[in-house]
């Protein structure tokens, strides 16, 4: 890589770092509003990342079939917008969202069932653990076998993947209420459901959101990977796998960029809801979630 590329790379990075460091200092001091400027930091960091990436791919002559330059990916994003949109709808709207909702709900419900009955706890929890790592590539073909080629089987894979994190976190969270808080409920002779609703679920909130956040990215990975095992000819996973086969690597990265944006937005929405719902938790009260 020629010298001036190195120079450009180091200075881009250095500039971004200084900027981010300064700005976050200002935010902490309250000199600039947190909301707007808080978004600027990851953006600047991201731009720096893209600049360095562009410089490296050009400077080191990285073959575009291995790693295209961001500019090429950007061009592809613009050119293939309709394809990318159709894929997004197929994968994200049809597979990820329903699968995520069902998987998280199932994890929650089983966790509560397990919590309610020691019998189920002894019996179901080991089986939950057993299901935890059913590898997607193992279950994806089976789901295709059971639910067909279309989005239903992908949603089923997402369900299987998001179930376990929710189960584990909810089980842990249901134990998070302190003993005096439980004693209070006992003195009211509150029944199981009242205790659950008014004490244990709120106290489990931080754990449940933990799972919701982890699952938001896991669901996307699951749906995309599941599409490698047979789909109609649309979907982000389909496009990525055929794209690699056709060496349309810039289309692949455009698809990855869409996935990254969609996944981050999804995560961001969950994190925002978390802040609203678990506002009372020290991790939120004392700072940011």
């Amino acid at each position: 890589m020629p010298g001036h590329y190195w120079f450009a790379m180091v200075s881009a990075w250095g500039f971004a770092w200084l900027f981010v460091d300064q700005l976050s200092g200002e935010i902490r001091r309250g000199a600039v509003p947190r909301k707007t400027m808080g978004l600027l930091i990851p953006a600047v960091f991201g731009v720096a990342l893209l600049v360095v990436w562009e410089i490296v791919t050009r400077g080191a002559n990285v073959p575009p079939v291995l790693l295209p330059a961001p500019s090429a990916i950007g061009a592809q994003l613009a050119n293939s917008a309709p394809i990318l949109w159709a894929d997004f709808v197929q994968t994200f709207v049809k597979s990820v969202i329903p699968g995520y909702i069902i998987g998280c709900l199932a994890g929650l419900v089983v966790a509560i069932a397990v919590d309610r009955s020691p019998f189920l706890k002894a019996g179901l929890l080991p089986i939950g653990n057993f299901m935890s790592a059913l590898p997607i590539i193992g279950i994806a073909p089976i789901m295709v076998m059971w639910f067909g080629f279309d989005w239903q089987s992908k949603a089923a894979v997402v369900v299987a993947m998001t179930f376990f994190p929710m189960l584990v976190n909810t089980v842990a969270g249901l134990n998070a209420a302190s003993s005096i808080e439980r004693d209070l409920m006992r003195t009211y002779a509150a029944n199981y459901w009242q205790t659950l609703l008014k004490l244990r679920l709120p106290a489990a909130g931080p754990f449940i959101f933990n799972a919701l956040k982890i699952n938001s990215t896991l669901a996307l990975i699951g749906a995309i990977v599941a599409e490698f095992f047979g789909t109609p000819v649309v979907g982000m996973g389909f496009r990525i796998s055929t794209g690699v086969g056709r060496l349309a690597i810039d289309l692949v990265w455009a698809e990855i960029a869409v996935a990254a944006v969609a996944g981050s937005a999804f995560y961001g929405v969950i994190a925002l809801i978390e802040r609203g719902v678990t506002f009372w938790h020290p991790s939120v009260r004392g700072g940011r979630a």
Binding site: L184, R186, T187, W280
Partner: protein, 271 residues
């Protein structure tokens, strides 16, 4: 809520402990928290528990409330097991620590037992207002617990226990973190309430004057293993102005309590 009389109309004692004992087993050996406690509390009694720190006052209240299980002896509440009494919602409990739920505002914390016991929204609002006024917390309805001072949190937890009508009130140092003036005020409010509603009250305190001022019966406990060393019946009239605290009768009872406390006190032995 529950009747403390049998079908034949004979009043049962509200609390009846016989040879009650409770031992905690810990990583580090056993701790005897209660041993051979015998005590009968009749309906309408105002019983104060006084004794050195760690002598088992809280443990005794918790046992009555079915939050701890005795390891020996018997305990009956309204002639029932503590568990059934709890399920009958026979008592209200003010814990030593405020135990407010951080995700609920103060008014919502006070509403908690009302929600659980199925009071209507309107009834809830009315009771919240009344009890918050009583403990002088009006204006803080919408605050969260961590935004309140220590004493204010304690008052909120008192309001919560008073918001629903239990015949038996278990109060564990409810006024510990309050200044004299508020304390005097709440003392006389509590007496009025007790007089009006004929509740039975078990009251843990470290203040001898408070115990004497409030109680019909003062239970003095001694530390490890927690035993009852003295039970003093008070002959003070039911009507008690604040200045009763200067009368000779009052001071005589106070002196007896202080002696019992000092005698039972392990201080000299341990230090």
């Amino acid at each position: 809520m529950t009747s403390s009389t049998t079908g034949t109309g004979v009043a049962l004692p509200v609390v009846k402990a016989e040879h009650l004992g409770l031992t905690f087993s810990t990583n580090d050996g056993d701790v005897v928290a209660l041993s051979d406690v015998n005590l009968t509390i009749e309906k309408g009694d105002f019983v104060s528990f006084i004794g050195p720190s760690g002598c088992g006052k809280t443990t005794f209240l918790r046992t009555i409330a079915d939050l701890e299980q005795p390891t020996s002896g018997t305990l009956e509440i309204n002639g029932q097991t503590p568990e059934n009494a709890r399920k009958d919602r026979a008592y209200g409990y003010v814990f030593q620590a405020p135990a407010l739920y951080p995700w609920r505002t103060i008014e919502k914390n006070i509403a908690l037992p009302l929600e659980i016991m199925g009071h209507s929204a309107q009834q809830q609002a009315e009771r919240i207002k009344r009890t918050m006024d009583l403990v002088n917390l009006s204006g803080f309805e919408k605050k969260f617990p961590w935004q309140l001072s220590g004493g204010m949190q304690q008052r909120a937890s008192i309001a919560r226990a008073l918001a629903f009508d239990a015949d038996l009130l278990l109060m564990d140092e409810p006024f510990g973190a309050l200044d004299e003036i508020v304390r005097d005020h709440l003392n006389s409010e509590l007496l009025k309430l007790w007089d009006r509603t004929k509740k039975t009250i078990c009251f843990v305190t470290h203040s001898i004057p408070e115990a004497v001022y409030l109680s019909t019966k003062i239970v003095v406990m001694s530390p490890r293993p927690g035993r009852v060393t003295d039970i003093i019946e008070s002959n003070l009239p039911r009507e008690r102005p604040l200045d009763i605290r200067e009368t000779p009768e009052f001071l005589a009872i106070a002196a007896r309590v202080r002696d019992g406390l000092r005698a039972g006190h392990s201080y000299e032995e341990v230090v």
